[in-house]
């Protein structure tokens, strides 16, 4: 009863005119920042942080949380339209979102991202209010061995789910893991594979590598198809999803919401892993797994729901324990601390108005995201209707601007160029780029936890891997690897 009363006053606070304006501003800026390759959710939230210095604490956290919500959706816009995930969590959205656009249905692809994302955001918020304590207890069971297994599971899953040769996908993932080892070793400070280039001491910059490999390579692929029709606009349907299509994505949205919420509650796991696991679950649950990768609605809805539910999940350890579950949550914690508030159990007892304003604003932010997303669709579609001869140079220029603007470093553009050419070469050789990108994102987490695990166990490999959660995750990873090989073997036997 007390919770309902606090939630009521939270809504009253969040619906004050100034707070509503900041919420709308946050969602709008978040969508734009998330859609811009190079500006991830955390960078967009960080850019807005100075604006909050003069605001009341509840308003500042409403603005930042609304930006976070908007950015996670925004990341899918560029993923769907130009095969470039605006945020790492949207990498998986490129698998089916972009193919659906190429088939001529960009509005449908956006709807399968926006609506499940909104549902997931709302459900995650309900969970945040009602079951945050048991979720935190589960999340706290994750030690280095569990994180290592989670990373391996994510990589194994994505390598086995990618279309084409599993061997090539595994090679691609291994290349990503190797690239993630470049730079100063964090345990003893030894520079690995830097070959005396000081720029490599900090490792491969993630965002330029990611946008180079996915977006630049796409620009080169795009112009291959150009003939003499350079300025011919592409024809796209403006159709919205039909009722049967909506019905088909609802189970995926619900499964994605649960996955995103649980993974989000695990500090450091993040939206990338949540969306990978969701994609894997959807492909396995589907009656037509062979259609995944060609623009199947469930392949967009599940990962996007997971991606957006992560926001609510991340807030659980942040608010209940003061543990930032992601870089964005860390920025939000710093915003609270700037106002003299300490996230953690005391925040609920000392400043419940801030907490419940945030809960209420999360509901409203998701609804605002839905409204702004629907309004914006007619505008976003103009991007894909631009002729390819114009779009391809624009993608290159956006990649350069996006990677340079964050660090002001020409080295980052060099990374975009190298990874762009590398990504194009891989595509021509039928080596999938997604496992490389994901391994680059997850590589540090996998290695750091692998070493921590061995350090804690005194060099014993077997003991930590036999812990229940670890063993289950590794067994699932093994199954993910073995099943495609088994299927290929059976197919060959059938042909013979």
């Amino acid at each position: 009863m007390e919770t309902l009363s606090l939630l009521g006053s939270g809504f009253a606070g969040a619906l004050e005119t100034y707070n509503v304006l900041m919420l709308l501003l946050g969602v709008a800026v978040g969508i734009l920042g998330g859609a811009m390759p190079g500006l991830s959710a955390s960078t967009t939230v960080a850019l807005l942080l100075p604006l909050t210095y003069g605001m009341p604490p509840d308003t500042s956290i409403i603005l930042l949380a609304a930006t976070y919500v908007g950015a996670e959706y925004g990341g899918s816009i560029s993923a769907i339209f130009i095969n470039t995930p605006g945020t790492p969590g949207a990498i998986v959205t490129t698998f089916d979102g972009y193919p659906l656009t190429k088939r001529g249905y960009p509005i449908k692809a956006l709807c399968f991202s926006l609506v499940p994302g909104t549902i997931a955001g709302l459900l995650a918020n309900v969970a945040l209010i009602t079951i945050s304590i048991p979720l935190v207890e589960f999340a706290l069971k994750f030690g280095p061995a569990e994180y290592f297994a989670l990373g391996v599971f994510g990589l194994a899953t994505i390598s086995s789910l990618t279309e084409g040769s599993v061997t090539k996908a595994m090679l691609a993932a291994a290349i990503g893991l190797l690239l993630a080892t470049i730079g100063t070793d964090t345990t003893i400070g030894f520079p690995r594979f830097t070959f005396e280039y000081p720029e490599l001491l900090d490792g491969i910059p993630l965002v330029p590598a990611l946008i180079g490999m996915l977006a630049l390579s796409e620009a080169f692929m795009m112009v291959e198809e150009l003939g003499t029709r350079a300025l011919l606009p592409q024809r796209f349907s403006h159709e919205y999803p039909t009722w049967p299509e909506w019905k088909s994505v609802m189970p995926a949205s619900l499964r994605g919401s649960v996955i995103g919420l649980v993974i989000g509650a695990i500090p450091g796991a993040g939206s990338t892993i949540a969306s990978i696991i969701s994609y894997s679950v959807e492909k396995r649950a589907s009656r037509h797994p062979e259609k995944f990768g060609t623009g199947t609605p469930e392949g967009i809805a599940g990962p996007e729901a997971a991606n957006n539910a992560v926001v609510g999940g991340t807030l659980i350890p942040m608010l209940t324990l003061g543990i930032p579950g992601s870089a964005t949550a860390a920025i939000m914690i710093s915003a609270l601390m700037l106002h003299g508030l300490q996230p953690g159990p005391e925040l609920f007892s000392k400043n419940p108005e801030v907490v419940y304003n945030l809960f209420a604003s999360q509901f409203l932010a998701n609804l605002a995201m839905l409204a702004l997303g629907l309004i914006g669709m007619t505008w976003w579609i103009k991007i894909v209707e631009v002729p390819k001869a114009v779009l391809a140079p624009c993608i290159i220029a956006i990649c350069f601007v996006g990677s340079y603007a964050v660090g002001g470093n020409i080295w980052d553009i060099g990374v975009v160029v190298v990874f762009g050419i590398g990504g194009y070469s891989m595509r021509k050789l039928d080596i999938p780029v997604a496992p490389t990108v994901l391994a680059l994102v997850l590589g540090f987490m996998v290695e750091a936890n692998f070493r921590r695990m061995l350090l804690i166990s005194g060099g014993d490999w077997l003991g930590p891997l036999m812990r229940p959660i670890t063993a289950v995750l590794l067994a699932l990873a093994l199954i993910s690897f073995v099943v495609p090989f088994w299927r290929t073997y059976r197919r060959r036997q059938a042909i013979l």
Partner: protein, 157 residues
């Protein structure tokens, strides 16, 4: 050797990757050991490099055994991506010395012309409009700063 053969290039890339990974594996033997019971900085890269050698070897062998072949790039489709790649490299080289704005205008004009855009409205609109939008959004709104290059020399900072 057929340069445009998918099978031949795949096998060659597999061999090169395996050799490169073997070299990097050799490099890891110069890495220091870990402190006390810590596994050290070499263990994980060695595991990954071994995986790369095995996978690259399997792919190279598979490509050599493969009876079917196709073109890596369709003959008629090669010009556009490689021209765009060349222009992108030139854009990267002049990005700092020439300055962001002049370099971007020249890049767009050259890239669009190469991709057979002949409408002067489109050429001028995109070449000038894109840097203008970037200036308003990134420099004015987000306080990012791009290299001025020759502009700085001409008109000061």
């Amino acid at each position: 050797m057929k340069v445009n053969s998918h099978r031949v290039v795949t096998a060659a890339v597999g061999v090169v990757l395996a050799l490169a990974a073997a070299y990097l594996l050799w490099v890891t033997f110069d890495f220091p050991p870990g402190r006390r019971r810590e596994p050290g900085p070499a263990l994980w890269p060695r595991i990954v490099l071994t995986l790369i050698i095995v996978m690259a070897g399997v792919i190279a062998a598979g490509a050599l055994r493969d009876k079917q072949d196709r073109s890596l790039i369709e003959p008629g489709a090669a010009a556009a991506p490689f021209s765009l790649m060349g222009l992108m490299l030139a854009y990267f080289v002049v990005f700092t010395p020439l300055g962001y704005y002049p370099a971007t205008v020249v890049f767009f004009f050259a890239a669009l012309w190469t991709l057979r855009v002949r409408s002067w409205k489109v050429l001028a609109g995109v070449s000038l409009g894109f840097p203008l939008v970037v200036h308003l959004v990134f420099e004015r709104l987000l306080n990012a700063r791009f290299p001025r290059g020759v502009l700085e020399m001409l008109v000061g900072s």
